[in-house]
Every structure is written in C-alpha cells, then in structure tokens.
C-alpha cells in the first residue's frame, strides 16, 4: 500500500503544478478575497471594537485560511469524479491498489494542496499591514490546525461523493455545506455578536476552532491548545468515515 499511496499522492500534487491556470487561481483568489472583503469591512470592524484588533486583516486572515479549506474538499472530490469519468479509476483499480488507498491519496493530496495557500495569504496579509510575532512552535501549530481541517473536509466531501460520477455533485455538496459552515463560524466575524442558535453551531464548528487558534497566535492572546486536539479528532473521525464509505460505496465508472 505504501508505494501506491505515494504514487497517487504525488500525482495529485504534481497535477496542481502542471496546470499554470490552477496555480494562478490558487495564488490570486485568496489575495482577492483579502483585498476586497477585508477592505470593505475594515472601517466597520475598527469602529465596533469587538474584533480584538484595530487591523481587520489580522482578524480575517486566520478565518479566511480556515474557510478556504472548505474549497479544498470540493477540489478533492472533483478530482475523484474526473478520475471516474476518464476511466483512470479503473486503471488504478486493475492494479493491486485498494479503494481505501485511493481515498487516502485524494484526501491527503487535497489537504496538501490547501496548504499551498498559506504562504500566499501570509504574504498578502503582510502587504495589508499584518505582522507575525509567532514562534516556530506556533507556526507549526497553526499549519497543523489548517492541515487537519483541510484533511477532515476533504475526507467528508470524498465520502459524500464516493457513490457519484456526476460532475455536478461536488458543486452541489459544496453549496450545501459551505454556506452554513462558513457563516456559522468565527471566521469572518466574532461569534459573540451572533444570535444564540448560530452561536451554538459556531461553538462546535471546526472552522471556529481553527480560526480562533490562528487568531490567538497572531494577536498574541491566550492560546488554547485543546483546540488543536479538537481538530485532530475532527480530521481523524472524517478520515475513518471516508475510509469505510469508499471501501463500500466507491463507484468506479
């Protein structure tokens, strides 16, 4: 299983860099999000005083990095659908490669792909005046949190789309999952201002945990390392679900 996992994982990552357009979009879109969404909101945030910082970009960056891991899930399952449609899934399964190995390579590949955004976003935020007083351990913790989040979402998406061969499925699933999870989290706004029912969702939403952990590192407030533990449980649980679902329901063509 080791060689198959490595081969398929490397394929996922290599494919990203083989397509200049994909690289460009990966680099530009987070920057655009920071530039437009961040700028539109920065004066309101400063005036409200609820954000814990005068620079909204410093508040937004950990949140945006967290929500962008949702799109990683969609790309992972789209890559899986593409392999089914073009027959590559058959090519893989006629070799001694298990369905679970395919699943792991896709979710690890998608999560790695998500992390490519981190350095880009950090540079973009620096341009908007954000400074990074983080220790090496804190950097590692932040990246680990984002990786676990991406890995969990990629696994969840792959599990949901395992029985499908339709191009449209990942988009539909993404719309269904992204909207509530993005807004019912502390990624864009502080959840203390939410109505009660949204606070309830936000308090268990893994995006909130990742956003708050990153924010604590960045703004120098008290760090709750248990949040990283929560994300580890989330990532692992989703991986287990995906592992068993693909073994049973992965459709080949």
């Amino acid at each position: 299983m080791r060689t198959q996992l490595w081969g398929l994982y490397a394929r996922e990552v290599m494919r990203v860099f083989r397509n200049p357009f994909v690289v460009l979009i990966t680099l530009v879109s987070p920057f655009m999000w920071l530039a437009f969404f961040g700028s539109s909101f920065t004066n309101i945030a400063a005036a409200s005083g609820r954000f814990g910082t005068a620079n909204y970009f410093a508040f937004l960056l950990p949140g945006t990095l967290s929500t962008s891991m949702l799109s990683v899930g969609m790309f992972g399952s789209m890559s899986s659908i593409q392999d089914k449609r073009f027959g590559f899934m058959k090519r893989i399964l006629i070799t001694p490669t298990s369905k679970q190995t395919i699943f792991l390579s896709k979710s690890l590949g998608a999560a790695s792909r998500g992390l490519i955004q981190v350095p880009v976003m950090v540079v973009a935020a620096y341009v908007f005046g954000v400074r990074f007083p983080l220790s090496a351990l804190e950097w590692a913790g932040w990246v680990a949190a984002l990786f676990l989040l991406a890995f969990g979402f990629a696994s969840l998406f792959l599990a949901i789309t395992a029985p499908s061969t339709d191009w449209q499925t990942p988009g539909v699933v993404a719309n269904f999952i992204t909207m509530p999870l993005m807004f019912a989290s502390a990624s864009l706004f502080p959840s203390s201002a939410f109505p009660g029912w949204m606070q309830a969702i936000s308090s268990v939403n893994p995006i909130t945990f990742s956003a708050e952990l990153g924010r604590a590192f960045l703004l120098g407030t008290a760090v709750n390392w248990w949040e990283l533990g929560y994300l580890a449980v989330f990532g692992l649980a989703m991986a287990l679900v995906g592992y068993f679902v693909t073994a049973r329901w992965l459709k080949v063509d």
Partner: protein, 330 residues
Amino acid sequence: MNPPAIVVRDLSKRYGNAHGVLALDKVNLSIEGGTVFGLMGPNGAGKTTLIKVLTGISDITSGSASVAGFDVRKESLKVRARIGWVAAEVILEDDFSAWENLWLQAELEGGIKGWEERAQYLLEYFGLADRKNDKVSKYSTGMRKKLEIALALLHQPSVIFMDEPTIGLDVATRRMLWDIVTGIHKEFGVTVLLTTHYIEEADALCDRIAIIDRGRIVAEGTPSELKARVRSDIVQLETGQSVDAPMLSSIPGVQEVRAQGNDWIIQVAASEEFLPQLFARVQTNEIRRVSVEKPSLETVFLQLTGHRIGEEEPMHDIRKFYAQVRRARG
C-alpha cells in the same frame, strides 16, 4: 497444451437488483495460456462486462472465474498483480510525460524492482524512447496506444486484457496495432484476451474465438473451425411483391429462409446451383438486387444469432437506458 490462463464456470452477471439486466448468462470458457483469445460480439453483448468481472472491477452474481490460477473473487489482489489492461479509450495522465506515466504505473503495481530498465526496454521496443520526456498530451493516437500497452506490460503480467483495442483508430493505426498484438504475444509470452466487434480483426489475430451474443457464448473454436461450421452460402435478395417464402423454400438446396419485408436472407447449400433455379422461377424484373456471401465469420455470426454483428442490439439500448437511470440517481 499449456495450462489454462483463464477459466470461467457458469458465470452470470446481473446489474442492479434481481430485475436488472442480465449482462452475462451462465458463461463457460477455458482459455489456454500463451494464446490470443478473441471475444467477438456486437455492442452490448457482454464483452466489456466479462472483462470487468475478470479484472475485479465488477462483482460476480453467480458462478466462478479464475485468472492466472487465482480466484477473481477470493484472491482479487493476486489476480490484479498478474494482469495488464488496455482500455478501449486510451487512459493516460495527459499532463505527465511517458516516463512519469510509467513511474506511476510502477508505483501502482506495488513498486516494481528495477522498473526503470524494464520501462526503458519497453519504450525502445515501441519506438517511444526518444520522446519519453514529452508530455503525453503531445503524442499522436498511435503513440498513446503504444504507451498504454507498455504500461500494461510493465510488471510482466501473465494475462493482458484488451477491450476493443482498435475501436476508433484509422486503418493504418489499426494495422500497426495488429502487428503489436501479435508481436507482444510472441515477445513477452503473455496470454491476450481481446474483445472486438470487427470480424476481420478476430480472424487475423486470434488463435481461438468465442462468439458472444446477449450475454451468452453461442460458439467457440478456432477461426477455421467456426467457418467450417457454416458450409452453406448466404444469399441476400431484394425482390418485388410476387416472391414469397413458400416459393423460395421449394427451391432445391434451400436450407432456411428469413424475410424482412421484401428483403430475404436465404441459406443455401451452394449458391452456384441455387441462383440459376431462382432465375428460372422468378421473372427477372422481380429481382432487384442479389448478393452472395461465402462462409466467413460474418456468416457464422449471422447464422448463430440471426442478426449481423454490426446491427444495434435492443440490449444495447436497455443498457444505455439503465446507465442513464444510474447517472440520474447519482
């Protein structure tokens, strides 16, 4: 005789639930190791389904099958380590070079020791060595096909499955592929199971042929054995209204008469004797068209199944419909 490379016993495959399409109906086959075996039949006859079942992509509904000495159901990993597969549509990683495609295949096969030498040898064998670092998307159709066969041979499999290997290829590329199939069979000693609905292809390439129609094997043998089964000629007529079946049947030497409106398919012992008799009994202007076919795999197929291999099958439509339903359910 070599020991059999593929043995299929009472194999049935039904898609979906108990009312689903029966794609394979109690198929029995024994394919000798080191031979080229052809599965010939129209679209939707069950050829691709049989390959899917033998390669472990689809489950078996009932019966059993073994490939390279291992049970496809119980020892799927061992089977898959010993088979190669060439798809009807070429499936490669287009953004990768030929060399990278070979590398990926080696990893998928479980990490082949010394794969680089084997890959280099195959690239040279297929005349691709000087283009090995080019992206596959820049390759011609023939080159892509060759690379796909190289991928299938990389781990030295004992059996290679080729599903409609020449479908959609131009005549020159098809000839080239025929040479390749014959060549790799000699050079690498692999057993080749190929499916085709081109009769001349089966005739040119295969040591033995099974004719499959509507999920059933209707005949099996060497091309010459199969042709010998049909000693009669086929005469096709287009006539006017005055010609009818009893009249045609009464001509000496006529074995069977089938009609489709004013078109007749008549099986006769010898067309040389039948035609003068026909013209003696029917006014010349009542006969609009005559054609005679001597025994060929085409006439074998026509006699065994009642239709020509190129005709669209109702089964084909049902499967298309079924595929649409599955897709709609998502």
